[in-house]
Amino acid sequence: MAWFKKEKTPIVSVEQKHVKTEGLWTKCASCKQIIWKKDLAANLNVCPKCNFHFKVGARERLEMLFDEGAYFELDADFASNDPLHFSDTKSYRARLKEAQKATGLKDAIITGDGKLGGRPTLIQAMEYRFIGGSMGAVVGEKICRAIELCIVRRSPLIIVSVSGGARMMEGAISLMQLAKISAGLGRLDDAKVPFISVLTDPTTGGVTASFAMLGDVNIAEPGALIGFAGPRVIEQTIRQKLPAGFQRSEFLLDHGMLDAIVHRKELRPFLIQSLNFMQAA
């Protein structure tokens, strides 16, 4: 059957081709234009043609925000021990392993300790590729530890959210993280230490219904999906199509739920200026 000798075909050729085309170009999900990945990266992963904000990984996000992109990671190795022994079509343990392998992270948030505009600041960034950025006990614990450290140091906390909400595979434990983190933020508030929440696409469910909406200032990137119930669930419940732009950043701004929509390029200066207002240098 063979038209050519198999051994002459380089084994990696197909994969390499794939990587080459996929690697150099990407198609903008909004304006459908083909963009050079290099251009996209140089533009903070924002489409140079239509300003569509592509998702950003947690590490990339911290590098984008901290002075010189430099930070120490705290609590890097906290990993879930699957308290419910949860299994659906796949076991939670297998899902965790896959996500850890794909992202190089142990769970869906990383804590960076560094400087922002010269000011010691903790920034936490969520990772959507880790089980949809879902929040379980590890995310809850890492945020609470960050809050407690910020209270002791009197240094600001910034959390960049991207999450589908509480992590189902940890059941009621993940639900209680909402209360645990919110209680911590109550203490941070009592201590008058700044907390800024940055919501990015998408931020829904228990993350929106806890820390993401509790910033002294809540800001979002343009066009981000933000809400409690997901649009599909709402559509199924009310059996009608949702209005255009529903639950997008602009919609939330209009309804008084956000302080501002901030373009990714403006994010760092916005945060620095806000912190300058909240705290003496």
Binding site: F86, D88, A183, A229, V233, Q247
Partner: protein, 328 residues
Amino acid sequence: MADPKDIYEQRESVEDLERQLTEIKKLSPGDESEREIALLQARIDRVKREVYSKLTPWQKVQLARHPKRPYTLDYIQDIFTDFIELHGDRRFADDHAVVCGMANFHGQPVMVLGQQKGRDTKQKIFRNFGQPKPEGYRKALRVMKIAEKFGRPIFCFVDVQGAYPGIDAEERGQAEAIAHNLREMSRLRVPIVVTITGEGGSGGALAIAVGDVVNMLEYSVYSVISPEGCASIMWRDAAHAETAASALRLTADDLKELGLIDTIIPEPEGGAHNNPKQMSESLDKQLQKDLEMLKRVPVDQLTDRRYEKFRRMGQFFEDASAHSAQSS
């Protein structure tokens, strides 16, 4: 796939057996019938035990949602006196899915509140099936702040399928309303006693459940998502709800074992709806005990204690750096 009706059918069979027993007892006495009576009685006891003490999580979900289950206003009427309902969130509307008010609890002024479901179709619509919109959570917090101002304890009764998935609830910021409640409840300077009476449905439940003590009725459930919701996401099929109910670990026993609640309040045989008065009496006793205990805690310690209580929840992780290779 077990039908939700199973539990009621099993109870039917208990009633059948009991009817048979009465029939046999009516017959003339004799060794034969006495042995039969003893056998039948043993079988009835066994079936009852099987039905009510070995309920599956899914069967407990059915009991928690039983249409005759006592609701918040039933408990308020049974346990409290001089209830005066307080309405409205002072922002937008009065949410009928949440009832709040001042009341008297064994001689002390207290604030009571909870979600309220409806019994008939008209009431169900009036109460929005017990699903609050943002104004419901905001009303609840408003009255809790009144309680705090005047140093009165708060009793919360939780029975909600989940937050309301609707356009209006999103427009008015239900996520913000829930988040705000969670933060503020955690630092209210009065005792808060929470009881999950039926369905503890995700954020809609937690929004009034950050208490010093959290109780669950024996057949109530408390979960991050409904079994149907979980099934349709994880199995892409809501028909797997029964499996999801087990996987989610949402029963009172599960929550207790995971260290997320304090006390399980036993229900009358067959569930609270089988003997609402008895249910109210047991609940009343537990609430008195909880309040007596909390009244002895100085206010400053109270909020620290509440913070620590939630802070401890979910110590279910390992520090992988201790025993695995660095990945990068």
